[in-house]
C-alpha cells in the first residue's frame, strides 16, 4: 500500500493507463502546465493544450473518440460545461443510440467541481445531476484518492462517455490553485481522509455503477458522494455518541445508480437521508427517493442539498453547502417522527 494525495492518484492512474494505451490523449486548457508531469512524459501530441474554445475541443473530442482515440477532455471547472453542453447532451450521449449501437464514443470528460473555498456561484457548482439526467453517459464522483484512481481507470475502460468530476476541496492541486493561491493564512474545512489516503498496490478499475458502504449501521442510512461522504462520516461519529447507529453509503456513481445498495440499506434502517452537494430541485436526492418508493419500501426521508446559488461569503457558503450539523439535525428530526407503519 502506498499513500497518495487525491490529485496525485488521478494523475498516476492516467499515466498508468496512458502507458498501456496509446490511444488515450488529454485535451484541455493549460494542460501543459496543469498536467506538467504527463506533458513531460508523453509530449504535446498526447497532452494537448487548447484555446479557450470548449465547444470546439469537446465536440472534437466526441468524434476523435468515434475515430478510435480515447480522449480525456478536461473542462477546467464543471461550471464551464455550460458553454459546450451541446457536445455532451446531443452528441456524445446519443451517437451510440443513433448508430443502432454500432458506433461507440469512448470519451472521458473530466472537470473539477464543488465548493467550500470561496470562489462564488459560477465556479463552485457540482451539476452531476444535470449530466445524470441524460441517457447514454455515466457520471463518476470520487471521494478519496483510491477511488479517484480506480474510477478514472473505470472511465478509461468504458466504451461510452463518462463524466468524471473531481471535487476541488479534495484535489490538493485544485485547492492550491483556486483556494489557497500559495497562502497559508486561509483555512478551509478539508477532510483529511479525502485529500490523502492509501492506494492499492495493483491499480484496478472500479466496477461501473457500484457504490461502497463506508460504514455499517442499523438506525439510519446516509447516502452521499464526493466530499459530502466525509461530512456524513463525521456526522455518523457524532450520532454514535447518541447511540444512533448510522450507515454511510458512498455512491461513487451518479449514473448508473447502485439501486441494489440503496434499497437494501434503506430496507434495513427505514430512515434515509440523502446528502448531496448538488442542487436539490429535480436532482439526485429526489431520484433516490423515487427508487425506494418504486421498491415499495416504507421509510422516512430527508435530504441535505444545495438549495440556492452558492454564496461567495464564506460563512453563508458553509451553511448553504451540506455540513455536519445540518445532517445531524435532519437525522434527529426524522428519528423523532413516529415510525411509518
Amino acid at each position: 500500500m502506498k499513500t497518495m494525495k487525491f490529485g496525485e492518484a488521478i494523475e498516476r492512474a492516467l499515466a498508468f493507463a496512458m502507458e498501456r494505451d496509446k490511444n488515450i490523449i488529454i485535451i484541455g486548457e493549460d494542460v501543459h502546465t496543469l498536467r506538467a508531469n504527463l506533458y513531460t512524459q508523453f509530449g504535446r501530441e498526447r497532452v494537448r493544450s487548447t484555446p479557450i474554445s470548449e465547444s470546439a475541443f469537446l465536440g472534437a473530442g466526441v468524434t476523435a473518440a468515434m475515430a478510435g482515440l480515447h480522449p480525456v477532455v478536461e473542462i477546467m471547472l464543471v461550471d464551464f460545461t455550460a458553454v459546450c453542453f451541446d457536445a455532451i447532451l446531443n452528441h456524445a450521449a446519443k451517437v451510440n443510440f443513433f448508430s443502432g449501437g454500432s458506433w461507440t464514443v469512448p470519451l472521458v470528460i473530466r472537470a473539477s467541481c464543488g465548493g467550500g473555498y470561496g470562489d462564488g456561484g459560477q465556479h463552485e457548482q457540482c451539476l452531476w445531476g444535470i449530466f445524470a439526467h441524460i441517457p447514454g453517459v455515466s457520471v463518476a464522483v470520487p471521494s478519496n484518492p483510491a477511488d479517484a484512481g480506480g474510477l478514472m481507470l473505470a472511465a478509461l475502460n468504458a466504451d461510452h462517455p463518462v463524466i468524471y468530476l473531481d471535487h476541488k476541496m479534495l484535489n490538493e492541486a485544485w485547492l492550491d490553485y483556486m483556494g489557497y493561491g500559495g497562502r497559508s493564512n486561509v483555512k478551509f474545512d478539508v477532510p483529511k481522509d479525502g485529500i490523502q489516503g492509501q492506494i492499492p498496490d495493483n491499480w484496478e478499475p472500479l466496477p461501473i455503477g457500484q457504490a461502497k458502504i463506508c460504514r455499517e449501521g442499523r438506525d439510519v442510512t446516509l447516502i452521499s458522494l464526493g466530499i459530502s461522504v466525509h461530512r456524513c462520516i463525521s456526522a455518523a461519529e457524532e450520532l454514535q455518541k447518541q447511540n444512533i447507529s448510522t450507515e454511510v453509503i458512498d455512491l461513487r456513481w451518479v449514473r448508473p445508480l447502485d439501486k441494489k445498495a440503496i434499497i437494501s440499506s434503506v430496507q434495513k434502517t427505514g430512515v434515509l437521508v440523502v446528502v448531496d452537494e448538488d442542487y436539490e430541485n429535480c436532482g439526485l436526492s429526489g431520484e433516490i427517493s423515487a427508487i425506494c418508493n418504486e421498491a415499495n419500501l416504507q421509510f422516512r426521508f430527508g435530504r441535505i442539498c444545495t438549495q440556492t446559488t452558492i454564496p461567495f461569503a464564506r460563512a453563508s457558503e458553509d451553511e448553504t453547502l451540506p455540513n455536519v450539523h445540518r445532517i445531524i439535525n435532519m437525522v434527529q428530526k426524522l428519528l423523532k417522527k413516529d415510525k411509518v407503519v
Binding site: 502546465t33 512524459q41 484555446p51 465547444s55 473555498y117 456561484g121 493561491g181 461567495f312
Partner: protein, 348 residues
C-alpha cells in the same frame, strides 16, 4: 469630457490602482478567500473608455471588474466589502469579485470567459430599440476571442448594427498559455473579417485610448454599429493573485521543491515518448516559467506613459495623489474594522 482632461484620467487611474492594491492586501491577509483577478496594468484602457461614457451607457465586464467599477463611480466601500464577502458588499457579499453587478451603473460582470460579448450586445439592443443614443462596452481578454459566444456576438453586432464598443485587453497570455500559439489571425483581423471597423493600439497609453474612443463614440451614438479596439497591456500579477508560474519566480525553493520529484519521475518513467523529447517537453515548461517574469520585470505600466504629460505640474499631481491616498486610508480603516468584527473572510 469633450476635451481631454489628463488630470481627471490620472485621478481615475490612480484611484483604481490604489483600490486594487488595497484589495490585494486584503487577499494577502487571507481576508479574501479563493481567486482574485485584478485589473492592475489595464487602467489606461478603462480610464480612456469609461471617462467618456454618459448616463445610460452600459458596461459588460469580465472577471476583472473592480477597476472599471471604481472608475464608473460605484460606492467604494460596497465594492471592496463585496470582494471580502461582507453583508454590506455591493451584492450583499453573495457574488464576490467575479460577479459584480450595479444596476444603477448598468454594469454586469461574469466569471465565464467570453460572456461580456453577448451581454454588451443585449445592452446595446435595448439602447437601439429605445432609440436612446446610448452604447454598450464589452471588456474582455484576447483569450476570450476564441470563445464561440464572443465571435457570435461580434457577428450579431454587425448584423444588427448594435452600438457595441468591443474592447479587447490583450496581454498575450491565457493563464499559462501563449495566446498566439492558440489563435488564428490577430484580434483586429478577426473583427475586420466580421465587417467591423477597429484599431490596434497601445493600451498602456491612456491618451491613445481616449483619443480613439473620443473619435468613435459620437458616430456610434449617431449611426449605431459596433467598433473594435485591440489594446495591448500587461498583467504584472499574472492571471490572478498566486499565479502558478509567477510563484516559481517568487518562491523557487518552495515551488521547485514540490514539483521536481514528479517531473524527474516523468522523465525517467519506463514508458512514454523518447527521452530527448521528454527533456524538450520539460524545457518548454521551464521556459514558460522564465517568460512569466516578463510582465513582472518589464511591466509596461500605464502610469509611466503619463509621466511626461504630468511633469509640468508636479504639485498638482502630488495633491491629487495625497487626496486619493487619504480617502483610501480612511476607507480601508473602516473596512478593516468591519471585516475584523465580522470575521467574514477566508481566515477563521
Amino acid at each position: 469630457m469633450s476635451e481631454v482632461d489628463v488630470w481627471k484620467l490620472y485621478a481615475l487611474m490612480f484611484q483604481s490602482r490604489r483600490i486594487e492594491e488595497s484589495i490585494k492586501e486584503l487577499w494577502d491577509q487571507g481576508k479574501v478567500p479563493g481567486e482574485m483577478h485584478l485589473g492592475i496594468g489595464e487602467e489606461a484602457i478603462y480610464a480612456g473608455v469609461l471617462s467618456q461614457l454618459i448616463e445610460g451607457d452600459a458596461v459588460a465586464l469580465d472577471h476583472r471588474g473592480t477597476g472599471p467599477m471604481v472608475m464608473r463611480g460605484v460606492n467604494l466601500e460596497n465594492l471592496i466589502l463585496e470582494c471580502a464577502g461582507h453583508p454590506d458588499g455591493l451584492g450583499k457579499g453573495q457574488g464576490g469579485h467575479m460577479h459584480l453587478f450595479s444596476k444603477d451603473h448598468l454594469m454586469a460582470s461574469s466569471g465565464i470567459v467570453g460572456s461580456s460579448g453577448p451581454a454588451a450586445a443585449g445592452f446595446a439592443l435595448a439602447a437601439q430599440t429605445k432609440k436612446s443614443r446610448n452604447i454598450a462596452v464589452a471588456f474582455f481578454g484576447e483569450g476570450a476571442l476564441n470563445q464561440g459566444m464572443m465571435m457570435e456576438s461580434m457577428n450579431l453586432a454587425v448584423a444588427w448594427q448594435l452600438p457595441v464598443l468591443f474592447v479587447c485587453k490583450d496581454n498575450n497570455w491565457a493563464i499559462t498559455t501563449h495566446s498566439k500559439e492558440m489563435t488564428g489571425a490577430t484580434p483586429l483581423d478577426r473583427a475586420k473579417a466580421f465587417g467591423m471597423n477597429g484599431v490596434a493600439i497601445d493600451g498602456t497609453d491612456v491618451m491613445t485610448v481616449w483619443s480613439i474612443v473620443h473619435e468613435v463614440l459620437p458616430i456610434m451614438r449617431e449611426k449605431g454599429g459596433p467598433y473594435f479596439i485591440a489594446a495591448q497591456c500587461d498583467h504584472p500579477q499574472g492571471h490572478f493573485l498566486g499565479d502558478p508560474l509567477q510563484r516559481f519566480i517568487k518562491d523557487p525553493l518552495k515551488e521547485f521543491g514540490k514539483s521536481t520529484g514528479p517531473l524527474i519521475k516523468a522523465v525517467l518513467a519506463v514508458h512514454g515518448t523518447r527521452i530527448d523529447k521528454r527533456l524538450a517537453n520539460l524545457g518548454k515548461i521551464l521556459s514558460l516559467i522564465g517568460q512569466s517574469r516578463a510582465p513582472m520585470k518589464n511591466f509596461q505600466d500605464p502610469f509611466l506613459k503619463m509621466q511626461q504629460a504630468l511633469a509640468a505640474d508636479g504639485t498638482k499631481r502630488s495633491e491629487i495623489e495625497k487626496r486619493i491616498n487619504q480617502d483610501i486610508m480612511v476607507l480601508m480603516n473602516k473596512i478593516e474594522n468591519k471585516l475584523s468584527s465580522a470575521m467574514i473572510g477566508g481566515a477563521h
